[in-house]
């Protein structure tokens, strides 16, 4: 019947629209934090962007029909897998490059970039400068954490996942999450003690 099928199409359209809105809202809520987590792990902006983009697409492709409350752990699970793949690829590439006789020293060039090394003339109030320094110290300390500790710390602290959600996102037990988190806190407190007093 034409009217019934027309009604079905309208129903499907409204369902699709509401699901798309929900997914959009979810992704908009996690994208910046996900980027920071990926950046802490990969230490490279574009790689972090690629990882987050892949995770978004994969979630939309494979899990957008799942209940919205399942999206967050699934999304971070996908992101974590993507980060791990990129780190592995980077390790392999590093090994291959280390065997090449005439390899470039891009990292050295980057470190000696005069523009990057130049002092900023942006006048910052002392308070803002203090926050920036503390933030920089924190980000550096987080980057030095072992991968699993870093991941647990970022998911728990920045994203606010509970122990069970973090365990789902990482594919490990809740006990393991607690252990990694405790160790991460210990290490960070030891490193950042001066900034917190």
């Amino acid at each position: 019947m034409p009217s019934a099928s027309h009604g079905d199409v309208e129903l499907s359209d409204s369902t699709t629209n509401s699901q798309s809105r929900a997914l959009n809202q979810f992704l908009a809520g996690v994208e910046l934090k996900a980027f920071k987590i990926a950046q802490a792990a990969l230490r490279h902006e574009d790689d972090a962007l690629d990882a987050v983009q892949d995770a978004m697409l994969q979630l939309a492709r494979a899990y957008s029909d799942r209940p919205a409350e399942e999206w967050k752990p699934l999304f971070y699970r996908i992101l974590e897998n993507r980060i791990r793949d990129m780190q592995r690829r980077r390790t392999v590439r590093g090994r291959v490059i280390s065997w090449l006789p005439f390899r470039g020293n891009d990292e050295d060039d980057e470190e000696q970039d005069p523009i990057a090394q130049a002092p900023s003339f942006d006048p910052q109030p002392p308070r803002k400068l203090e926050i920036s320094e503390t933030m920089e110290a924190l980000e550096k300390a987080i980057e030095t954490l072992p991968r699993r500790q870093q991941q647990v710390f970022m998911l728990r602290t920045l994203e606010g996942l509970d122990v069970a959600e973090t365990a789902t996102a990482m594919g490990c037990s809740e006990g393991s999450v607690k252990t990694h988190y405790f160790r991460a806190l210990q290490t960070l407190r030891a490193q950042l003690g001066d900034f917190w007093t």
Binding site: T16, L27, L32, M135, L138, T157, L158
Partner: protein
């Protein structure tokens, strides 16, 4: 009188909680400071993901709506498949048209005289001649010639 036992977090836990709180604030602050280029690219990535999800849902829905029509076509094909051999054999029930024993052959075997002839192996040629004559005479009687 001794003072009441202290209830609440130990100094160690308190310190840890304060540390976590400060860390969280700093990290959230750093998230807010992400520059426009990154935000723009994340925005593009999000829209690409939404489009992908919408396209996928539409194709799945279309598949479901087309399913009854596909089912009707499949049922029609199934019926046609089972009916086709019967209607084909209904055109002609003779042995020569189908290449298989027809209704006329069954009549021959039902006739007890014919069965006697079949069992007589020495006179098989005569049996065939007789069968042909029988067929001719049946045809002539049915046409009234």
């Amino acid at each position: 009188m001794s003072p009441p036992a202290q209830v609440g977090p130990t100094p160690m836990n308190e310190t840890t909680s304060e540390f976590e709180k400060r860390t969280r604030e700093l990290l959230e602050d750093s998230v807010q400071r992400v520059d426009g280029r990154i935000r723009s690219r994340l925005n593009q990535a999000r829209h690409a993901a939404i489009e992908e999800a919408t396209r996928r849902r539409s194709s799945v829905w279309r598949r479901f709506t087309l399913m009854p029509a596909a089912g009707a076509v499949a049922a029609a094909l199934l019926v046609a498949f089972f009916l086709w051999p019967h209607s084909h054999s209904g055109v002609s029930l003779t042995a020569e048209s189908s290449g298989r024993p027809g209704v006329e052959d069954l009549d021959l075997f039902a006739d007890s005289d014919a069965l006697d002839l079949v069992s007589d192996e020495t006179d098989t040629g005569q049996f065939y001649e007789w069968a042909v004559d029988q067929a001719d005479s049946n045809e002539a009687s049915s046409t009234g010639a």
